[in-house]
Amino acid sequence: MKPRGFLFPDSALAVPMSNQIRSRQPRSRRSGQSGLQPQNLLRQALSFPAIVSLALTAGTLPSFAADGGTTNAPAASLADLSVEQLMNESVTSVDRRETKFEESAAAISVITQDDIRRLGITTIPDALRLVPGLDVAQINSHEWAVSARGFNGEFANKLLVLVDGRSIYSTGFGGVVWGAEDVPMEDVDRIEVIRGPGASLWGANAVNGVINIITKGAKDTQGVLVSVTGGTFDQPTTTVRYGTRLATNLYCRVYGKVSNRDGLETPGGQDAPDRTLTAQGGTRLDWNPSDENQVTLQGDFFRDRFVESQDYAILSPPYVQSFNQANYDSGGNVLGRWTHDFSDSSSLAIQTYYDRFKEEQAGAIETANTLDFDAQHRFLLGNRNDITWGLGCRNVAADFTSSPFVMWSQATEHDQLYSSFVQDEISLLPDRLKLTLGSKFEDNSLTGFEVEPTVRLLWTPTARQSVWAAISRAVRTPDWTDLHGDANVQTLPPTPTLPLPVLVTVMGNPSVDSEELTAYELGYRVELTKHLSLDAAAFYNDYSQLIAPVGGSTEIEAGASPPYASVVIPEENAGTAHTYGLEVSARWDATDYWHLTANYSWLETQMGFYAADTQPGPQQQAQLRSSFDLPYHLELNGDVSFVDRVFAPYGIGVMNIPSYVRLDLGLVWHATRNLELGVWGENLAQDRHIEYTSYTSTLVTEIPRGIIGRITFRF
């Protein structure tokens, strides 16, 4: 087998740790499996149970506590709004993104600007911790693992994420670079999270959920805003925004933000080398030339630099080397959207965007240029049919340079996606029973034709409760690393039976097909009293064709110096899995000034390909959040959360990450009309805790206790 396209520094073959990392499995365990062929050994090793999992910090925590709640937008009917609120209610709620939550047959939660502001949340992933059942774990100052309903990881690839209608899901590696998404938190209007498949509307990769980050309109961000955040842990982060009216019905804003996120800590309490500096800026224009027309034009650019500890496998002892590597992300986007109302019952939205994302990581450069066009039309057909249909196309052109980190079997990628969808909400019994039928039809150049249908039924027996059920199909199209990225995973040291180092490579396979999901969901919402509401969702997910490295071939590179054995494992559609679980959220408006939210979720995962006893997500999570308005314009806000233990991928094994409790408490003071001050204690429950591990580093980083403060001027 030929060596890959990178340099051999002297005799030590620099082999990066890419997908997975060196296991800390005791040598004796491996050598105990004597007589195994290396590939069998590896296949064995790659199945999680064969590995001794590591409990890094032992000790179990009191098994209960909670964290910020979310917000299942309490289902007040219009009649419960005040006259002032009614005056601002838009008569045209026609977009697929504007369905009323209590009327949707899906598990939907919304995080509002108020939630974010009260809790001093500084990043999007931290805001997502408020959603019941969402699994959010910070890896370092630049990486987060975020997923819904299992399958979490640094590259959690079954969750689709959009910012103002623009997908930030990377087709390159499948997942979101959370550290590069530095939307000013003050500009976020709300974050809508749908757990469960949303593929019938959003298409491929909306498998386990869809996250819509929606920023405020320019009209709502008028004037000047200056916000400075900093603390024991984060260096100052500054946001400056200016909004003005350019003409009648034409509003604009510009903003700039510089974030400075410090490194986490090592288990010993030392500063970890990771740190992130991000600069982002942008503008947005909103124009309402008439009541029927609405035009939005927006754009952003960003650049970040982050330092991470990165591991490279080498062919001589100790078979792994760690470097502190400086990496860069940069990019930008321009988006235009036009909505037009033909009448009260018919409207059209057309959106197009261009997005560029460049990632320089450990010498590998990947640049992706995306051009996307999307149109949708919603209308009432006759009497009971509320129909939305749309067409879209997307063109992604990318180029790659290979590095010791990932080697590409082709230097460019050019993908096209043509899609259409249609959805009909049929009111079978007015105000009682609603049936939704819909499907996306996609033709993409990676896997061909995909159909992603859904059937949803919503029954509202009384005005205060509803029951819904859904069956849906969703797919994840293979990402480019699945198709033609080759990653040297690690070097196994020589053993008595095989006295050669074994270099393990996971090889992309251009013939892998999409991963498939059939999801069965059931939900219940009830308003027990005017002040207490409950929202529950249960699901059973059936996955097939999951992409995973299996099999493999071995060659002895006897002529190399030093000689080594090479094991190449191709990606195949070999995996199956079943998950099932429950997510419950309750909101209690105890008084006008005291609101409580509690969430609980439970998840069971049965991997067909991996071992049955691994848990790719926390089995249980519980959260409790309180917001309390005090006299003198003070607000006392807090949240406490419990996250069950997880097994995170670590090397070719797994690491047992113990359960932990997060406790945040904060005080906000509206000092004057223009000045708001806030101070929060974060992670007060423990000195530090680990949440997840990185694929590319064996260095474990933990989140310490900290204090953060924020000053916000508005004028």
Binding site: L78, A79, L81, L86, M87, E89, V91, S445, S511
Partner: protein, 203 residues
């Protein structure tokens, strides 16, 4: 062997038969779904908002005592002629009270049937004989709410107007006062244009 040639775009596609079956199945579902849709118009958001307003208006208006037989008698909201609200008002009436009173919704076709109604809504379709109808209702202490351009000039009290995708309203306080109705200052403040009271001529 390491690097297979770039694959052709037509990689592993769904078998054609399966693809067509999926289309056909989906199409059947869709057609089956469309079929039952032949009865009732879903209520547009505009009228959901207007219905909520009617409920709110009733909270901000004081009727003269004779308008209610006793403290428990219901507040009657009438819809004159064509009903654009669907079941919206009925739904509100079911779950809400106004100052302890139940809400009753009454569909009214003629002035004669208007007896006992406290708040009467006139849809845009009723713009034809507004002035006569409104005049005939006088002395009944009815809060009249409309949605047509000439509603206020025809003698109506509260009129809905659409502004930038939202529903606003204007109030003719004088007309209300003539019938002994007291509209709260809070509501008057929010109204788009309050018609000034005609100047009182000193005796």
């Amino acid at each position: 062997m390491r690097h297979p040639a770039p694959s052709s775009p037509a990689r592993r596609r769904e078998p054609a038969a399966r693809r067509w079956l999926a289309w056909a199945l989906w199409g059947c579902c869709f057609v089956a779904g469309l079929a039952p849709g032949l009865a009732q118009n879903p209520v547009s958001k505009e009228y959901q908002i207007k219905a909520a307003y009617l409920y709110n208006f009733a909270k901000f208006v004081e009727w003269p005592d004779p308008a209610f037989t006793n403290n428990d008698s219901p507040l009657v909201i009438g819809v004159f002629g064509q009903n654009p609200f669907g079941g919206e008002l009925t739904a509100i009436a079911k779950d809400h009270k106004i100052n302890g009173r139940n809400i009753v919704i009454k569909h009214v076709a003629t002035v004669a049937e208007a007896r006992g109604v406290h708040l009467m809504f006139f849809g845009a379709a009723e713009a034809g004989h507004l002035a006569e109808t409104l005049a005939a209702l006088k002395a009944n202490s009815v809060l009249t709410v409309g949605e047509s351009e000439k509603f206020i000039t025809a003698g109506g009290m509260i009129n809905f107007v659409l502004a930038e995708n939202t529903v606003r309203f204007e109030i003719n306080a004088a007309a209300a006062e003539q019938q002994g109705l007291k509209i709260s200052a809070q509501l008057l403040k929010l109204a788009k244009a309050v018609r000034p009271k005609p100047r009182q001529i000193p005796p």
